[in-house]
């Protein structure tokens, strides 16, 4: 009776019947199911959003840091910026003695230079922006990043702090609508600066990082630093492998001349590490919350499936007495709860794909380290929620299915509903 083709056909027909049995069950309980579906969708939404945004942030940070910092390490006075409580005390700036001490003790580095970093309000005609301002020394202004691509560099008088000059990155010039040929005057923190030239944007950085203003260190020193102090100390080296050596040399010499906990170091490596840990935290919290939601949805699915199978026990008993296998009923229950999980997951993922850019924009204001939170639609964000929710649905169906397995046919036939 059973040619392979006939057997295959039979199996296919069985599958169709299984699906239709599942469908019937779901349809007859559609209102309750759609509510449970929503809880599952919320969990899956949270999970996939965590991945989309987390990955996006990770990639973003990586790009920014890598391009912006290069092989530099900057020592800044004060304690680490993330210890907010300690930061309220007075900013203990570096002294020129600190600087010479460090410079004398650090051998084999390309460059040790004072630097100034701040953000200041910038005005040109009717345009107002807050922009990053870098104060660079003569040596630093010869670095490729600070070489003008249009116009000229600083004059000697500018370097000596006698006249106030500045360079704009391309983006900054565009943002302020400055045409360099006229050597116009912009206002930084209310003071007039003559725009001498335009430099390239920091490669790969986003809009906020791109728009920067460079001033001679001397001007910054006069205008924004207390007299007799140094802003930051910048150390550059050529060989990337030497970073540990440079950092430990810098740290030990600063500890000798200033004492511990009076400075912090930042470099591409540190920033990436710190940012990574921020993103890792974000993702961990996100995942925990999402799994929590899925846990609740799991209980919901189990609950619905239990009441559902109890409600349908008479129908199941009838089917079994009409020749259905227990295993068929069991499979219908399992596939129903699995489908619940999967469809919840799909709805959640679809919502998350739609809403991730907007949520990213909302979150962006909360995470300082990330300047533009664009979602990254990686495979993980799609696969994990579907996997987790599908599994949750399947497992949630196990206990109801086990109840069906032990179904007392005669007793269930009796309860008329």
């Amino acid at each position: 009776m059973a040619s392979p083709k006939a057997t295959g056909d039979r199996i296919a027909a069985r599958l169709v019947c299984l699906l239709s049995l599942t469908g019937q069950g779901m349809w007859s309980n559609r209102f309750q199911l759609s509510l449970t579906l929503m809880t599952m969708a919320v969990g899956s939404f949270a999970l996939s959003l965590t991945f989309f945004l987390g990955e996006g942030a990770r990639i973003r940070l990586w790009q920014d840091m890598e391009h912006l910092m290069g092989d530099w390490v900057i020592a800044s006075p004060g304690v680490r910026q993330d210890s907010h409580l300690l930061e309220t005390r007075l900013r203990p700036d570096f002294t020129p003695e600190d600087f010479t001490f460090v410079k004398d003790h650090l051998k084999d580095v390309r460059l040790v230079a004072p630097m100034f970093q701040a953000t200041e309000p910038v005005t040109f005609r009717s345009i107002n922006r807050v922009m990053a301002v870098d104060g660079v020394t003569v040596e630093l202004s010869r670095e490729p990043l600070f070489l003008p691509i249009r116009g000229r560099g600083f004059s000697d008088a500018g370097h000596q702090g006698l006249v106030w000059e500045c360079l704009l990155t391309k983006s900054a010039a565009e943002a302020l609508a400055v045409t360099i040929e006229d050597e116009p005057t912009i206002f930084i923190d209310g003071r007039p600066f003559q725009v001498k030239g335009v430099t390239q944007d920091p490669p790969g950085a986003d809009d906020f990082f791109k728009a920067r203003i460079t001033v001679p260190y001397e001007s910054a020193n006069v205008l924004w630093l207390p007299s007799g102090t140094i802003g930051d100390i910048l150390v550059a080296w050529t060989n990337l492998e030497k970073m540990d050596e440079v950092v430990s040399g810098l740290r030990s010499s600063l500890e000798v001349c200033r004492g511990p906990d009076t400075f912090f170091l930042s470099s591409s490596e540190f920033k990436i590490q710190k940012s990574r840990s921020i993103v890792a935290n974000f993702m961990a919290y996100g995942q925990v919350e999402a799994l929590f939601c899925i846990g609740i949805a799991f209980i919901g699915v189990m609950n619905v499936m239990l009441t559902n199978t109890a409600r349908r026990s008479r129908e199941f008993a009838i089917r079994i007495s009409m020749g259905a296998r227990h295993s068929e009923i069991l499979a219908a229950v399992l596939s129903e709860s699995f489908l619940l999980g999967i469809s919840g997951a799909l709805i959640g993922v679809a919502l998350s794909v739609l809403l991730a850019p907007y949520v990213g924009r909302l979150l962006q204001s909360k995470i300082n380290e990330v300047n533009q939170l664009l979602p990254y639609y990686g495979l993980k964000g799609f696969l994990y929620p579907i996997l987790v929710c599908g599994l949750a649905g399947l497992i949630a169906g196990v206990i109801p299915a086990a109840k069906v397995r032990r179904l007392d046919v005669l007793a269930s036939l009796r309860n008329d509903t």
Binding site: C17, S20, Q24, V409
Partner: protein
């Protein structure tokens, strides 16, 4: 399944079958070491007072409940030999009409009749064809899309009979098919059931209805768990 054309051995035979129910702390012995042989293609009516175990006997025959002791031979082989009472193969060759029809409430008449064939690896289109044929046999073609609560008592039983017939089983069990019906409807049902037997099927009916008892090849009574020929 051969339908049991072999005349030397009975199609169904119960040997010393004992079945008891446990209700609370007490044990009710419903079937006491019953022996029963039913030949293929015959019709048997079982009578007995309420609570005497008629339905229980039907459920045992339909393999819906295990027995305590004894042996059940179906077409010559023991149903309980290797845990076979779970074997859907045998259950699938039996059609059963329950005491009150027992249709699935949220399915239409057509869908209800499709249920047995839907569990036998048959495509839905073919299921519907078979179901329509069975419904035509019981004269319910005009009520395909009615739900059970839209059917009269007689129609319900006819629908249940169609559901039992749809798989063309070798054995049909019917538990009080005319129980609550008026005599006219009862005779329609009895016409149906005994019309069915003509097609080489074995029929076992539980009934108080003299109409049915008259037309049966054999009447058996059950009282206090003991079987007697009438």
């Amino acid at each position: 399944m051969s339908g049991g054309s072999n005349d030397t051995q009975p199609f169904i035979s119960l040997r010393g079958v004992h079945k008891s129910w446990r209700a609370g702390g007490t044990r009710i012995d419903v079937l006491r070491h019953i022996d029963l042989d039913i030949r293929a293609g015959t019709s048997t009516v079982i009578v007995g007072p309420s609570g005497s175990g008629k339905s229980t006997l039907v459920h045992v025959l339909a393999l819906l409940t295990p027995i305590d002791s004894g042996e059940y031979l179906f077409n010559g082989s023991s149903v309980y030999a290797v845990n076979r009472w779970w074997d859907v193969g045998i259950r699938q060759s039996i059609g059963i009409v329950f005491q009150d029809g027992k249709l699935i409430q949220n399915l239409t008449a057509l869908q209800n009749v499709c249920v047995p064939v839907s569990h036998r690896g048959i495509w839905p289109r073919q299921q519907k064809k078979l179901a329509k044929r069975a419904l035509a046999q019981v004269g319910l073609l005009d009520r395909l899309d009615s739900y059970p609560n839209q059917l009269s008592g007689g129609e319900l039983i006819r629908c249940a009979i169609a559901r039992a017939l749809v798989t063309e089983p070798v054995l049909i069990l019917a538990d009080e098919p005319t129980g609550t019906l008026d005599s006219e409807t009862g005779s329609t049902i009895s016409d149906l059931l005994f019309g069915v037997v003509k097609e080489q099927r074995t029929l076992v009916v539980v009934s108080h209805n003299p109409l049915l008892a008259e037309r049966a090849d054999r009447v058996v009574s059950i009282r206090d768990g003991i079987l007697d020929e009438v």
